[in-house]
Symmetry: C2
Subunit: 417 residues, 2 copies
């Protein structure tokens, strides 16, 4: 009898963990991703703000799975899933049969009906997004140094981040430090420290997934660093010249979008309706209703949790679902029954600049330098690849000791949009 | 009296060295470059072959000169030089007056009348070139893994390097190692070691600037690594499907151009005729005939050396000219006379893969592992920035010990041209 074929779509935290968890199972695993690398997304903002290089947080998928004999890696994009014939079709026309399918294609940033904002307010999900945002931030300082018009110079030195979740908070802190520390003596005409960093959040507080007290600490920490935090009103207009919010016009040439994500088009491939954020509803065993061969996990899945909330779209949740799906497939093949998925929430972390972080481990809550050390240790620990851990640690130590960020390269075009 | 203005075009080895050498001079220095970083070009092939990240060999120019109070850095492209009015015009319309001008804009790859070859056979001069070549090499292996047609697979696994100078030799060695070592167990359908690496040189031997004996050693070292060396006939056609050479058609989907360079368009800006390779002829004091305020240095200049030859287009020569131009300007301002430039040739180095190099220091000639260590030490020593030295050493040690190359990221598009 042929071994069952498990096809996994997406090599993010969920998909990769599913593949690795099947290493000893008597199945053939095919892992498909649009990129040739697994990306450690939680540190992507440090690529966008010139502390890390792309290679520090990205590892070739083939190299992770090179010794897993039952796993095969394919670079390709999914265009369709045939759930009756049980095949996946790729963009190069290839059709791959599956016995079990794990959909783990993640999320992308969403503009909630304002797709025209994307060119002026890029989001941060992929490596190319990060190098593009890095390019825009660094170019804004260069153009400000060259500007002769005072208003133009001010707009070039104004950086608006839309969205007060972890990514928005981390970007605001990092841009503020870049301006105040790393670039300090680099320019002759402008003072980089005069740059304004404005963080806009539509809701009443930053980090809505954290306890209120930590939101307040985060706000005051950012304000101490010079970040202007604007709560309680959403951006109503974004153009290449600035952002409108609550009737106020903020002239700014650099806008970063961190306000929301929507699931990848998995619902469409599966012939289903997604929820408002495009997520696919799954049962307690993470499979589709009436189709126990198809698992949907990670940011793509809408999984009930507690108090009417869904399991959050964070890396540990995706990994747990990946492990669960692998175990469930093994059990099913062995003819055993499968217990429902149970999400174990470890906590929330976010960093604010180079010396502070907020941590919510339920009973344990921390802010300040100790929290920052815990945050750093956790991220180093979960980085894949010994090499990457060493490199990231060295880059951080270097940036910490010298206040410099080493990766201040403007690659690609040297004109602003 | 206002301090004289020295405008330097280009922050390569020559221009940067000129700027630094003027640090204590009573002048105002303006250094203009199209990029915001100084690039250590001798190691660019290691970015193209996935050993180093761009940030390892590139340092922001502002950060190099941040403490040099008399120096100002401008990100911009030159479009014209007015030698009568003594101004330089930039692409953003700015016009900069100069008292002394140092033109150090380097060279770019040249296709000698075959500009249509550029899209299929990219050269290696800039960071974006290197990440593009890296993308093509890695994608070729991915596409070969997916290919169903045997001829297509063979063409995808054939890598042609055109040009047998140091860059061509280094690229051929590095691609061969990537295929034979780093990718060894990464694929399931193809054997990366079955890849063919073909190095084409129109002349009778590799490394024509080296003694004949070292050329022969280089050829046999490359052949031992599995590289096919084809001498004595130039490529006559390059398409996306392959290369024609001496009547033979080589089906190949990846072609790298290392066959020649021409000077940047400095001759045009200066209103002069360049030589065949676009270089500007200068006198023994590196200035233009009849215009002692304009220096041309580095790869842009045609400077007589010995035996009717020109000073070679290598980093040490550019640096020596940069120092000379700075000293000459200081002497001229002080009303002193200026001795002619004298090039001091230290030697030639090239590496062949991870354990061998060829070195020609005139009386001392070396090949093999010791030469490789000398090559590595020299390159680490001349890298700018303490951080970069450490990082490059660590990446090399990692690659050496594990046989892996860490930067195997396909960024940008995932389709081949």
């Amino acid at each position: 009898m042929e071994r069952p074929r498990v096809v996994i779509l997406g090599a993010g935290f969920g998909g990769l963990m599913a593949a690795k968890s099947l290493s000893r199972a008597n199945v053939r695993v095919t892992l498909i991703d649009r990129q040739n690398y697994h990306l450690f997304q939680p540190l992507l903002y440090q690529v966008a703000t010139a502390t890390l290089s792309p290679a520090d947080i990205a590892v070739p998928i083939r190299s992770i799975l090179r010794d897993q004999a039952n796993a095969d890696v394919i670079l390709g994009s999914v265009v369709a899933v045939d759930r009756i014939g049980r095949t996946v079709t790729l963009d190069d026309g290839r059709s791959l049969p599956y016995d079990y399918l794990i959909v783990a294609t993640g999320a992308r940033h969403a503009y909630f009906g304002h797709d025209d904002w994307e060119p002026v307010a890029p989001g941060l999900k992929k490596i190319d997004d990060a190098t593009e945002i890095r390019r825009r931030i660094l170019l804004a300082f260069e153009k400000a140094e060259a500007a002769t018009d005072e208003n133009e110079r001010k707009a070039l030195l104004t950086f608006v981040i839309i969205g007060g979740g972890p990514t928005g908070v981390e970007m605001a802190g990092a841009i503020s430090e870049l301006a105040n520390k790393a670039l300090m003596r680099d320019f002759r005409r402008i003072d980089p420290a005069s740059a304004r960093v404005i963080l806009i959040e539509a809701g009443p507080r930053l980090l809505p997934a954290f306890p209120e007290q930590l939101s307040a600490t985060t706000k005051s920490s950012l304000e101490k660093m010079g970040v202007e935090v604007r709560l309680g009103a959403a951006a109503t207009r974004c153009t290449r010249d600035g952002v409108e919010r609550g009737g106020e016009w903020i002239a700014a040439r650099t806008i970063v979008w961190a306000a929301g994500v929507e699931a990848s088009p998995a619902a469409k491939w599966l012939g289903l309706e997604g929820d408002r954020a495009g997520r696919v509803a799954v049962g307690p065993d993470l499979t589709l209703a009436g189709d126990p061969r198809v698992f949907v996990i990670g940011d793509t899945a809408a999984v009930a949790w507690r108090d009417g909330k869904l399991v959050p779209g964070i890396a540990p949740a995706a990994k747990q679902m990946g492990i669960y799906a692998a175990r469930a497939i093994e059990a099913t093949i062995a003819g055993k029954s499968v217990k429902p998925f149970r999400y174990s929430h470890q906590g929330n972390l976010a960093t604010i600049g180079r010396r502070s972080a907020v941590i919510d481990f339920g009973r344990i809550r921390m802010t300040g330098p100790i929290a920052w050390l815990v945050w750093g240790a956790a991220h180093i620990f979960f980085l894949i690849g010994f090499r990457n851990r060493i490199m990231v640690m060295l880059h951080w130590m270097w940036a910490y000791v010298t206040f410099r960020q080493g990766v201040r390269l403007i690659t690609g075009s040297t004109s602003l949009p």
